[in-house]
Symmetry: D2
Subunit: 366 residues, 4 copies
C-alpha cells in the first residue's frame, strides 16, 4: 500500500534523497539466522558505485553501507534491518537555475505539480542514487537465498546500448565483469566504448536494454493472478528510475510468434519435467516453471545532457536549459546491479509467500 | 499483499474458475454516491464477450453481471461492491486427457507443482474467463472516473497481430469499433482477417500487441518510486493472462533513442505547461504529466491449438497432445477491453491515493 | 489496506448488506489440498443463526452457505474461495421512519455523514448479519487448522451478561452447548434467562462479555511489534459489530497486579518449557508461548430497543424514536461463534506468516 | 502486511534495538508542504525520555532525533521521512545471565523459540526504547494534523496505577504536566508517589491504565468494518509493549449497561448534531461521530524486577532469576506520550484515507 515499499512478506522501504545526509532501506520480514555482514553487502554496492570509469557519473561516493539494526553477532534476528548509506560528495554548487526550471525528461515538473515543492538538489528523491538502497537490500535478499536455495544464481548484463545489440552467438558469461558495460559480448563492448565516447563528446546520452536471468529458481513460486511472479517482476523493474518497458521471456516478440512456435514442449528428465525451449521466460500462469527466469528492461537515455533543450520555469517563463553536472552518458550501465537486486528481492519474497501458503510442498509427477 | 487483489485504495479481488458456478469481483474502497448500474457494467462486458465472431472462442456466455452489494437506489454506498457473473455454458465433456496431461504453454504444470491439484475444467482459475471480472470492476472504475474527472477517456485498440502492425499514418479512431479486432487501421483489419482465417484453418494461433491510451488524466497522479503510476500499470497489465511485456510511452524503443531525441520539451500553453512530444507516455518520475498515458502490452499466442505438441502426463509419461475445444485463434483480441479496464482501475486508484495524500492540490506555475 | 479485509496471508474480505440479495466472504490465500465442504461450514453458521430461541432476533434465515469458487472435488485449490449466503427473509416493511431518522447507538448518523447516503434497510452494511460471512470464513480457517495443527481447539463462551458474571468455580465446558447463552456455568445460565426475559419485556437490552480460548496453539506465532498476535487479535475482535473492548489474558486487571504477581514463572516440562500460570494469556512480546491464547471482548447492549430515545432526522428535526423490529435483547449471545471465527482466522494467518518467514523451525531448548 | 509497519496511507515502520547503534522510524505517505522540524519532534520525545525522575528507568539517553530524509527547507516533500535516534547510553555490562536465561514476563522465550536467536542486550527489539521511534513518528503526525485540522487536540494521562484510580470529580487537565505521572488528579498523584516508592523499595513493580482523548476529530473518519477507526486504534494501542487491553468509550463497562442507558441521544446543536452523552467514545459503526474519541489501555507491571522468579535457561536448566538493571517501577508512566503518538498516527491515517475515498465531503443534515 505504501508509496515507497515493495514486497509482500520480504518488504523493502527505501528512503533518502540525493543530497540529504543519508539514504537507505528498511528491510522487514527477513528470515532469522542468516549471516548478514556489511562487507558482503558492500560487494554489491561497489558494483553499482559511480565514478569507476568514464562511462558513468564522476560523482565520488564511497557508498559505504552501515547495518543499524536487525542483526546480532552477524546474523539476522528476524526484526527490521536498517541499511544506511551516508552521502558524502554533495558538491556545493549554485542550484539557482535547476531550482527554478523544470529539466525535460526529469521528474522536476511532476514533483512540483504533485507536491508543490521539491528537493531540487541533484534530483532529490528521483535521483538514481536511490538505487544504492535497492542494491543494499538486494544484498540481504541474496544472503537469504544463498541459504535457502543454494544453487540459485542471478546474473544481469547489458544486451543493447542505443541501437547496438549484442550478438547472442558471441555470448560469453565470463566477459560480463571484464568490461565497463556488463556486456557478455566482448566485440560489442569494444564497439559500445567508441559509440558512447562519441555521444558524450557530443553532449548527448543514450538508452539501453538490460537482461537479468535467475537460474535455479524452484518451480512453484508465484500465484495465478495479481501476485503473479511476472506481475511483481514487472512492477519491480518498472519502479527503477528511467525504465520504460519490461519483458518476460520472449517479451514483445511473443506477439509475432505462432502458437506452434511458442509452445515450450515438455519431456521427462532425470529430475522431473524438462522443457525443450524457454519462450515463457521461466513463468507460466504467473508461477515459476523451474527454468531460467528471464527478464529484460529498457532504460531511457539520461535526461541530463549538456545540449540545450526548451523548457519553462516555475514562474512560467520559457527558457532553454543545459543540465550541467556529472551525469552518466548511459544510465543503463549502472542499472545492471540494480536489476539483479530487484530480481533477488522479488524471488525471495515469493519464496517466503509460497512457503507460507503451501509449506513448500510440490505436486508429484510420475 | 493478497494473491488475487490489485489496487491500494480502490481494491479489486477477483474470484472464480472457468467451469465453477460463477466468477466475479469484490470491489472495495469505491467512493460513495456514484451511479453504478448493472446495465452500464454490461456494456463493457459485452465488448469482451466470447462468441461474437469467428475470431474469438465460440463458447456462448451471456456474461450477465449482477450487483450483489454495495449500491442502494442505484448509487454506490462506499461499502464493498460484489459483482457476480454466472457461468452458463459449461459444456459437458470428457476431461480425461486434459485432466492427466500438462498442456504446453498453459499453467497446468505449474499449478500442479505448486498446489498439488488443479481444476482442469476449462483451465480453471487460469482461464481467460477471469478477465470478465476485471472488465466488470473496470466498469465501476469508469463510472467513478466519469464523475470525478469528466473529460477523462480510455481507449484500447490492437496495433499488431502476429508480425503485422498497423500503419500509424492510417490511424482512425472511428474505425476501432468497426471491425472485430478493435483495429484503428481499416486496411490492416482487412489484412488481419485473412491472416487469422488462414492460421485458424492451419490449427495455429498468434500473438498480438494492444495499446491503451488514457487522455485527460490530471497531472500529479502516482508517486516517486514503488507506487509509481507506471509501476502499477506494468503490474496490472502483466497480471492479464498471456501478457509477456509492458511498455510505457516509447517502451523498448527508448533504448535506441538519444537524450536529445527523447527529451519532451516544454512550453507554456494557455492552461499550463505543454509538451512538444510524448516519448514519456505521460509519466515522468512515476507521476502523470497531464499528457496522454500510453501503455502497450504483448499477448502471446493462444496456447490451446489443434496441432499436436509434445508433453508429459501427471504419471510422468511422454505424450503428444492436441488441445480440442473452442479457443481464440488470437486471444489478444479480447484483451483490448481488459486492458482498458485495468487502466481505469489503476488511474482511479491513484486518483484516490493522490487525493488522500495531497488533497488534490497542485503546485502552481507562473 | 483495504477497508473490508482482514488478514495478511490468509485474507478475508466480507461484502453484503442486511437486505441486499446476498452477503458473503472472499477468502484469499487458503492453503491448497484442504477438504472444504459447504456442509462443514454450515455447522458453524447454524451456531450463529438467528431465530433459534427467544433470546435472539426472530428473523428467520437459513443462512445457507454456497461455495462458488476455490475448491475442486471438495478440496481447496489455493485460489480464492467465494462464500455466498443469500438473504431470504427480507421482511417487507415501511422504512420511512428509519430512513429519515438516525437511531441512537447505530451507525446511521456516521454513515450518513461519511458517505452522504446509506442503505437503511435493516442497518445495511452495519447489520450484525455481516458476521455470518465471518463465521463462514472462520469455518474455512478451522478446516485448514484441523489439517495443519491437529490438536488446536477454539472455544468461545459468555462470561458476563449485564452485571452478572459466571462463577469460575462452576466452570464446566460441557455446559456450553447446553443452554442458549453458550454459558459454561449452568446456574448463571438459568439466572440470565430470567434476567433477559425481564429486560425484553421492559423493551430494553443489555451488554455482555465473551471469552474465546485457543488451546494447542504452537509457540512462535506472531511478531515483535505491529503484527503482534495480540495486536491482530485486538483488531479482529474490535472489528465485530458492537464490540467496545478487547482483553488479552489478565486484560484491564493487569493494571492492578504487581510484577511479582504477574510473572508467569517457567519450569521444564516433559515436552519443553511449562508456565506455572497464564496471566499473559498465551502471548509474550506479541508471540505465542504455547499456552492457551485467551481473549475477552465486551459487546455493548443492542441499540435497537422499543423504548423511545431522543434523536434527530436527516432534515435536522428533533424526534423521539422507537426502533421496531426483530432485535436481539443481547446481541452478545450471537457474538460467541463470531469471536471463535475471528480467532481461527487470525491464528491461521499467523501460522502461515510464521511458516513464510521462519519455515516453522523453532529454537531449541535444553 | 509488514511485520513492523502500521497505518494504511500514513505508514510508519519502526526499526532498531535497545543496544544497537540507533533506532528510528520510516514514515511514508506524509502529506507535502508541512513544517517538520527536528526541534518540534524533540518536544514530544523529551516527554517520553527516561531518567527524568525516580519513577522511571535511570538510563540516560538524550533521545535526540535526526531527520535524514523527506524534508526540504524545513517542509515535508511527500517522500519518506527517516527519523533516527542514536543510542548513546549502552552501559557496558555482563549479559551472561540474561543471555542464557528467559526472564519471566519477557519476550526472551518467545523470541528464542520463533527466531532461534535474539539480541538479549537490554531486551533487543522488545525493549520499550522502541517506543521512542513511535513518539517521533507521532510528532510528524501531529504536525500534519495541526495544519489539516487546526482545532484537533490529543491528550493522554494516567487514570490508574495498580489498584489506585483517579477520582474523576477531581479531574483537572492543568495538573497533567505538573506531576511525574501525567495524572489529572493532584491528590491521586501524591498518593501514587508514596505507593510507587514503596513498591520500588520492595523490588516490585505495578501496572497502570492510560486514557488518551482526541477532541476536535471530524465526523466521518473510519470505515464500517475491518478498517474501523476503533479497530485500528485497538491494534495500535495493543502494539505498544506491555499493553494487555484496549477500551473505547465505556469499554468493558459497556457489558453491564442496558440499551436505554447506553444510547447516546442526539439533539440539533448550532453546528450540527450534538450528543447528550458519549458512551460510544466518539465512534459509531467504526466511524468518528465528531465527539471526543476516548481510548484507554492497560499496561502490565514491568516484568524486570529485583525479586527472584523461577525460570529456565537456554540449556533447559531450572533457575531463579533476578533482573538487575535500571527498570521503570511502572512502565505505564512512559506509555502516556506513546499512546498519544499512536492516537495521532491513527487519526491522521484515517483522515487521509477518508479524503481519498470520499474527498472529505460530508452528508448534510437539516
Amino acid at each position: 500500500m505504501s508509496f515507497n515499499t515493495f514486497g509482500h512478506l520480504f518488504r523493502v522501504t527505501t528512503w533518502g534523497e540525493s543530497h540529504g545526509p543519508a539514504l537507505g532501506a528498511t528491510v522487514d520480514g527477513c528470515p532469522p539466522g542468516v549471516e548478514i555482514e556489511a562487507g558482503a553487502l558492500q560487494h554489491w554496492l561497489d558494483k553499482r558505485k559511480p565514478g569507476q570509469n568514464k562511462f558513468t557519473t564522476q560523482r565520488q561516493e564511497p557508498d559505504a553501507v552501515r547495518i543499524l539494526s536487525g542483526t546480532f553477532d552477524g546474523k539476522s534476528t528476524g526484526t527490521p534491518i536498517q541499511l544506511m548509506i551516508e552521502n558524502t560528495d554533495q558538491r556545493s554548487k549554485d542550484y539557482g537555475e535547476i531550482a527554478k526550471s523544470f529539466r525535460p525528461g526529469h521528474a522536476d515538473l511532476t514533483y512540483h505539480q504533485k507536491y508543490g515543492l521539491r528537493d531540487y538538489r541533484g534530483g532529490g528523491r528521483s535521483s538514481a542514487r536511490e538505487t544504492a538502497a535497492r542494491v543494499a537490500a538486494g544484498g540481504v535478499a541474496r544472503a537469504v537465498l544463498a541459504q535457502l536455495v543454494p544453487g540459485l544464481k542471478i546474473t544481469g548484463y547489458m544486451v543493447q546500448v542505443g541501437p547496438h545489440q549484442i550478438d547472442r552467438a558471441r555470448f560469453d558469461a565470463t566477459q560480463i565483469e571484464q568490461n565497463p558495460f556488463w556486456c557478455p559480448d566482448a566485440t560489442a563492448a569494444a564497439d559500445w566504448a567508441v559509440y558512447l565516447d562519441d555521444l558524450r563528446k557530443n553532449h548527448n546520452s543514450v538508452g539501453a536494454v538490460i537482461e537479468v536471468v535467475a537460474s535455479g529458481v524452484p518451480a512453484g513460486l508465484g500465484a495465478p493472478l495479481y501476485a503473479k511472479l511476472d506481475s511483481d517482476l514487472a512492477a519491480a523493474m518498472m519502479s527503477i528510475n528511467a525504465v520504460k518497458a519490461v519483458e518476460i521471456g520472449e517479451g514483445m516478440a511473443a506477439a509475432a510468434l505462432t502458437g506452434v512456435e511458442n509452445a515450450d514442449e515438455i519431456r521427462m528428465g532425470a529430475n522431473g519435467p524438462e522443457f525443450l525451449s524457454n519462450h515463457a521466460g521461466g513463468i507460466l500462469g504467473g508461477i515459476s516453471t523451474g527454468q531460467d527466469v528471464v527478464v529484460r528492461f529498457a532504460v531511457k537515455p539520461t535526461s541530463s545532457i549538456l545540449t540545450p533543450r526548451r523548457t519553462i520555469t516555475t514562474g512560467g517563463d520559457e527558457v532553454e536549459l543545459i543540465t550541467k553536472g556529472r551525469h552518466d552518458p548511459c544510465v543503463g550501465i549502472r542499472a545492471v546491479p540494480v536489476g539483479e537486486a530487484m530480481m533477488a528481492c522479488v524471488i525471495l519474497d515469493h519464496l517466503l509467500m509460497d512457503r507460507g501458503q503451501t509449506g513448500g510442498v510440490r505436486g508429484e509427477i510420475g
